[in-house]
Amino acid sequence: MSEQYEPKIVAFLCKWCSSAGSDLAGVSRIQYPANATPITVPCTGAISPMYILSAFNKGADGVLVSGCHIGDCHYIEGNYLARRKMHLTMELLKFIGVEPDRFRMSWVSAAEGAKFAQVVTDFVNDLQPLGPQDKLKKAVST
């Protein structure tokens, strides 16, 4: 197969930082892979581990969670809470044998369009050798 495998990424982006950061990447015309489907959330602290499990369940090859840098949260402490929750989620995914590269978290501020492009590019590059995610994906009966 000559065509490269294109992983599907679900990206949960915080409304205040990473979402604006991805927007900046767009208006700055930075080239980066189109594999990420952004879902804007009010705050990374509002992301339930259920969202991540559900994304994998519905066929995502990778899940990205991105929010404001520590100390910059619009709600003061949301990203501190997210850091804890996402750490636990990540450890649990690794524990049952899911590849560590399938889940990623990053801090991208509204001014870091280039960083957002870099994060997505790196993520896609890391996911490509892993191939489709079928461990947590729902088997669809035909």
């Binding site: 369940n57 649990l92 044998g97 790196d122």
Partner: protein, 343 residues
């Protein structure tokens, strides 16, 4: 050594004086040696209470049930309920108090220390009794004595104790109104998280093979959820029952409702269920091990909960059920929380 007569006397006295409206304890069950939960409301019944190595139930579950029952009747508790609690059960009660599920004065904790032993694991015991069923089990120092049709059989407690009891470091109910037995906090029959450490030594591929095998076997009977005192939500996220269907509901609305998890017992859905459960119990599970015991297909659920418990302890310095006023794991944070995994 705990004298069962002490527990009976306490229960009888409190019921006679009307200080409590019921005592939840253990009594002889109808299946072999096993004890069963007892709900005692009159002083005469107090003599039914027992305390032996088969008292594995976490009775704090019934405090939750009582609270739900009262809420259904739209009543307030007029007197506390007394409950017999081992170390792990008392920690469960502390977590429930932390979450303001009921008030401290609504419960009277009759603490029992497991001292140097714990509860028996039937799965470990079965092969040691030559095919006979035990009709009785008693504590005897560091041993358990089982009565079978062949006569008495004395076995070292360590050989037949549940893993969680071997790994338990605090076999003493710190939160209590009255307590029986010695405080042997700090005893170490097996290294904490021994089973987890053994499991984690394997590679990711082997771990996945192990889990996919078990996730395939889960039949989604929800016994683990029913038996867990921490799973008290009125509406569980895995049940898609909260969607109100009226004659006016369109087919499109029905098709587009949020379904986090399907009810079918397939691997992907079982993974999502069991992982969600582990996440919901992170920082709340006190390792009473009831989920694993109740599981009809022996899915090692305790490993998942243990993993979360160890992460919480090692990375966040968090101990579940340590104090009533303490913070909860996922609603608090420290500046020193690990963040190196974040790009």
């Amino acid at each position: 050594m705990i004298n069962i007569q002490d527990i009976r006397d306490t229960a009888r006295d409190m019921l006679a004086k009307g200080e409590v409206r019921a005592v939840i304890g253990y009594r002889r069950g109808s299946r072999g040696m096993l004890a069963e939960p007892a709900f005692i409301t009159s002083p005469e019944q107090a003599d039914e209470l027992v305390w032996d190595p088969t008292c594995f139930h976490n009775l704090s579950l019934y405090l939750v049930e009582d609270r739900k029952f009262l809420a259904h009747l739209k009543k307030n508790s007029d007197a506390p309920i007394a409950v017999v609690a081992k170390g792990c059960d008392a920690r469960s009660i502390v977590v429930l108090l932390q979450e303001h599920y009921f008030k401290r004065e609504d419960v009277y904790i009759i603490g029992v220390s497991c001292e140097g032993s714990g509860v028996v694991d039937e799965r470990k015991l079965a092969p040691l009794l030559n095919g006979f069923q035990a009709s009785n089990a008693v504590f005897a120092g560091d041993d358990f004595v089982f009565t079978t049709a062949q006569g008495e059989k004395r076995l070292p407690a360590r050989e037949v104790m549940a893993d969680r009891c071997l790994e338990c470091r605090i076999p003493f109910p710190k939160e209590h109104n009255v307590v029986f037995g010695e405080d042997k906090t700090g005893r170490e029959l097996a290294a904490p998280f021994a089973a987890l450490t053994r499991f984690e030594a394997q590679g990711a591929g082997e771990r996945w093979n192990f889990w996919s095998h078990h996730f395939d076997r889960c039949i989604r009977c929800f016994a683990c959820r029913s038996v867990c005192p921490m799973c008290y939500c009125d509406e569980c996220v895995v049940d898609s029952i909260t969607f109100p269907v009226t004659p006016a509901t369109t087919a499109e609305e029905k098709a587009n409702r949020i379904r986090w998890i399907e009810r079918s017992a397939t691997r992907s859905e079982n993974i999502t269920y069991l992982m969600t459960r582990a996440m919901h119990l992170a920082g709340r599970c006190t390792d009473c091990g009831e989920c694993e015991r109740a599981c009809p297909v022996n899915v090692p659920i305790r490993l998942l909960n243990n993993k979360m418990e160890r992460e919480a302890r090692e990375k966040f310095g968090f101990e579940p059920g340590a104090s009533i006023g303490g913070p909860s794991l996922v609603a608090s944070f420290l500046d020193s929380d690990p963040g190196d995994f974040i790009r």
